[in-house]
Point group: C2
Chain length 683, copies 2
């Protein structure tokens, strides 16, 4: 008695014996090997391509003969002649087992293929999208056994794909009958596979075999910008990325001014909802046109945003978020239809909003948690998403804490006298000589320092227009290191600092960075008011982080991840000199880029990640800074540069911070002003 | 040791021992006694009113002392003082057990109360509506344990009402926060309890205790008229009924002409969809205004209709229903939202369409099956829903068969020379003296026969304007009985019939019923063409029924139910003389009124009935008359009055049908004309 041939799949290593004549696709399915197919084994889609290996495999204990797979049959040969096939590849549904064989499943033939992320510490994304394509052959209608076309289509999905309980939206039903007939009862169906709240659902039908794909959007809906990635839901590839300014900016720069707008103006919330949805639709038109695809092929969309944007986007008045106890209308993840939100993509496209963590810690923070996974970290990681509102996560695999802190827009260059958004001409890097107190800097658009040859030429087209967010952080930190600013945040007089770049400017001193007035450009200075703004912002950030450390019961963290587009440009050393982030080895401070956007993309491409983040968020312990008595104390301490009580030993081992106090009696007033402003931002 | 007091509930007879101090509502819930409550035992809603009985109950073996229930507490007393309470009633949630007691639950305190139907043979409706009201107290937001208002509301429904997995539509979420605060965290929630496809869902929220109700619509969407009943979903009461003409009539009187319209006119189906939905919305405005309620309180709607109306209402082109194999887009029941169909009731109102049985046997036939329950009948019942298209069901508890037959509009007085819709002035009852051949008749609006004193006065305001559908049936049957028309359907000459009321009218004879020309009124005659129209219509009906009898393997039925508004006015004897329905004892021919509308009402008030009819429909065996070879043979036989081959022994024992043949050689041509017309109607 002979045993059936052995089939070994790589890279999974799954193996089993199958009778001669078994198609490789069938063997793969029986073993649970991850081998794709859209046409269900009819030799049409070629998604099940595999690479047989021949020869001796001592590792597996088999020898594969040249005739281990069947000869090319007519279906396979026709496919190859018509469409072409990479040398060595076979169609898994046509090639059958003839002898022991080793079969490699190339990545593009795997359903759950990996989308590799660039950062070393970031985990890859496993493809498991909401919506997949299925080719089916539907039974024709029969007067003797009357049943609806839909019911026979649903039966075909159940019988041919083991998809049960599939439902359909009315608009599909309205267009289905001619498509079935055009395809001669063979159709390709895009099926949303269902989720915690919804059964599987037919999203689209094409006559015959549809040789295309469907798309999804990962959208990071920020207070200032809306950024979207358009992804191929089969390959996971980002096919286009685009962004626009949030049109709500005309109602207020920061969140609390928008909440105020909705309070002060009857129907103001509805105006803002309309504005953000219109902006979103404009962005979708733009991104679809960039990718040269039909908008109706966008069948899924994931949104991340802070709680105020979350409410305004959903059409919920954010009133309650403007006052204690900051009650969210809903905190759980939302599963909606695009038309619920007036979004002009596929009419039945599914929309997923990540859960909010708390009234001030939104779905964007949840997305950061999904992307950065503090909950699986062996070491204690502080994740800071730096923006107008900072979301802060602290944790490891034991537990994760979260809070938000109203940093205000200073880190984005707003409310800074020479501040500006990051754009060509903006100062982004700064060094100040501690002896001469002379600055040198670089502007966006050029790699040449201001004291290097060729600088005037390099900036000829852009000019020097102001200081961007990351530039102001370096500037203040460098002023502190150079002894121009003292710990409490006062700029010294020319006498105290030994440089005429410090000049009396009203009641306090300012520092002259660049005088472009000779060429008709601006005079770029840092005023003491600017220093105060940065102090308030960084104190808010630090005291939030410090509060989480208190709650965690630690005095230090193992590593810091700076998230947010802005976070990518911050110099760790300068951030630490400023006391924005806790003391920590500099090489343990990394940037995660737009982690919220990445979290959205993970949730888009892998629906398991949606369940995962919903569980994670339930486990995250939320801290409301507004009612924590120690927050105020931390805030006051953190107003100092870097801090009036924290020792920052690692920082002090790298840099030497001059021990100065220029106190002339005006700091207290200013600090109080800032504190008042901060409270106002919170509402 | 004493045992706890015994509590006996009537009428259910459920009983149990409960500790002294147990509220009656609690005891009822523990025993599963059907006792209503909206406020959850807070003494607010009074839905749990009960009547304690005192004295000796030998039947139950208990004596109830006067102090068997607790004294009136302040909550109960306040309710009575403020709102009043029927003498002898107590609030079940406040009155507690003190000794053995017999508690009667009055019908209005039962959740699953019975809505009694008028007809003896009709089963009552058990209340089990889709949507119920629940009063809850919601936990206030807490910054230390942040969660959304919605999540706390959902928790309250789970904890206080055992309602789990409740979801919410976006529009509720958009309005929920101010309502929760206005009600000081006490709200009444209307919850759709979910169904086979959907989880429970919040439909509406009111601040505090809402002392009202919610409503549902049962809509019979006919080709000619749209009729709706507005029902109180708590009491089951019909609070208003209203109807309008189907605005699609302008696109074609019968179904097939509407299908043709959609084929011949690009976008014609969309025009008709818009027309029927607009008509529906106008009807809803009308019915809500009659009942003096807010349309937004209509949270559920059930629709029954034939397949063509079904598709047009859903926005599906009915093209396929106009040609073999008559493929429905979908045959299963549909669960939708009102806004999917553009209906202006509560924005999230749920819509339920009963399943279709086959391409020609629609949700209206399913509704008739639900109302008349042939599937539970001990004897073999033929149910005929008489309309432009007749739906026919034949069955008993063993099996049920169904078909439809295109009778055309003759039974509604259309295509009849003196025909008219049933309205004052229309002849509705007829007798013809078999000796004198003189007719006497009654018109709608008067109870006086035309040969009785006072007739001219009685009709003075209406006149005599024509013959309605039931009138024409009696007329032709009486003409047949009186020997004016022969079996093949020819009107005899004056010589053959012995009356000058028969007169040559073109190539054939007509019969003069009434000559109102002296008073400026119409001359009402029955032409031989009229007889042909009725022959075609009744032959279509009979041959459908006969085909089902063949398939069932029977030659006779035990009883006949005439459904449809028109069916209510048909005289069984005359219908049988005509050979519309099979031979059967006359007292076994009953009318069910608008059974399709009743079926809709049952499905509205009792959601279990929805699952029931979905199962029943799956079991019904469908016969497509268009492809049954014997249909044509039955049709030809049934063209005779009553029938050229069927003996009708019971009918012949009651009446004597003259054995006549006026054949003058023209019958064959006319019959062929009719057959052509019939085929055209089918498309």
């Amino acid at each position: 008695m002979t045993t059936d041939p052995l089939v070994i799949f790589t890279p999974s290593g799954q193996r089993g014996n199958f009778p001669v004549g078994t198609p490789i696709l069938t063997a793969a399915r029986q073993l649970g090997v991850d081998l794709d197919s859209v046409c269900g084994g009819r030799g049409i889609c070629s998604k099940c391509q595999i690479t047989p290996s021949y020869g001796e495999f001592s590792k597996h204990g088999v020898t594969v003969a040249n005739n281990a797979l069947s000869e090319w049959n007519s279906v396979e040969q026709r496919y190859k002649d018509k469409r072409g096939l990479i040398e060595g590849r076979r169609l898994g549904c046509q090639a059958t087992v003839q002898g022991d064989v080793v079969i490699d499943v190339p990545p593009e033939s795997q359903v759950h293929k990996q989308v590799v992320r660039k950062r070393v510490e970031a985990r890859d994304i496993t493809m498991n999208p909401s919506t997949k394509l299925f080719y089916v052959e539907v039974q024709e209608p029969d007067m003797h056994e009357p049943s609806g076309d839909l019911e026979r289509l649903i039966t075909a999905l159940a019988e041919q794909w083991d998809l049960h309980g599939v439902r359909v939206d009315l608009h599909i039903l309205q267009t289905m009958q001619p498509i079935l007939r055009k395809g001669e009862w063979k159709v390709t169906v895009a099926v949303h596979l269902g989720d915690a709240e919804n059964p599987p659902r037919i999203m689209h039908i094409w006559p015959g075999y549809y040789d295309g794909t469907v798309y999804g959007l990962a959208v990071d809906l920020g207070s200032t910008t809306i950024a979207a990635h358009l992804c191929d839901l089969q390959s996971g590839e980002v096919v286009a990325s685009s962004g626009i300014m949030n049109p709500q900016i005309r109602f207020g720069e920061d969140l609390m001014s928008r909440v105020s707008y909705s309070m002060m103006n009857e129907g103001g919330d509805k105006e803002m909802t309309r504005a953000v949805r219109e902006g979103m639709n404009a962005l979708f038109v733009q991104i679809a046109s960039e990718a040269e695809i039909d908008k109706d092929l966008i069948v899924d969309a994931v949104f991340v945003c802070n709680p105020v944007m979350h409410h305004l986007f959903l059409g919920i008045n954010p009133f309650e978020l403007g006052q204690a106890p900051f009650a969210l209308a809903t905190s759980n993840a939302m599963r909606l239809r695009a038309d619920d939100l007036g979004l002009n993509i596929h009419p039945a496209a599914r929309v997923y909003l990540l859960p909010c963590i708390a009234g001030h810690v939104g779905a964007d923070a949840a997305a950061v948690a999904l992307s950065e996974s503090p909950n699986t970290s062996e070491d204690l990681v502080l994740v800071v998403d730096v923006g107008t509102n900072a979301e802060i996560l602290l944790g490891n695999k034991e537990k994760v804490l979260a809070c938000s802190s109203p940093t205000g827009p200073a880190f984005e260059g707003a409310q800074i006298s020479s501040g500006q958004r990051a754009a060509p001409g903006a100062i982004e890097r700064v060094e100040i000589d501690p002896i001469t107190k002379e600055p040198r800097f670089r502007v966006i658009g050029s790699d040449i320092w201001s004291n290097e040859d060729g600088f005037p030429d390099a900036i000829a087209t852009t000019g020097i227009t102001g200081i961007c967010g990351s530039g102001i952080i370096e500037m203040v930190a460098e002023m502190r290191l150079a002894g121009i600013v003292d710990g409490p945040g006062l700029i010294g007089s020319p006498a105290q600092t030994g440089t005429d770049r410090c000049f009396l400017d009203g009641r306090t001193y300012s520092y002259l960075v660049w005088d472009g007035s000779a060429d008709g450009g601006p005079k770029i200075t840092v005023t003491n008011r600017d220093i105060r703004e940065i102090q308030m912002a960084k104190a808010a950030l630090y005291s939030g982080a410090r509060l989480l450390m208190d709650k965690f019961g630690v005095d230090k963290v193992d590593r810091v991840v700076l998230a947010g587009a802005f976070g990518a440009h911050i110099s760790p050393k300068h951030a630490m000199v400023l006391g924005m982030i806790p003391d920590c080895p500099l090489d343990k401070v990394t940037s995660a880029g737009n982690a919220a956007g990445t979290g959205a993309r993970i949730a888009l491409l892998n629906t398991d990640a949606r369940n995962e983040i919903e569980s994670i968020v339930k486990e995250i312990h939320k801290i409301e800074t507004a009612i924590e008595p120690r927050f105020q104390e931390h805030f006051v301490n953190a107003s100092n540069i870097p801090n009036s009580v924290e020792p920052f030993p690692i920082l002090n081992s790298i840099v030497s911070l001059p021990d100065l106090n220029f106190n002339q009696g005006s700091g207290g007033d200013d600090a109080e002003d800032g504190s008042r402003r901060r409270r106002r931002r919170r509402g």
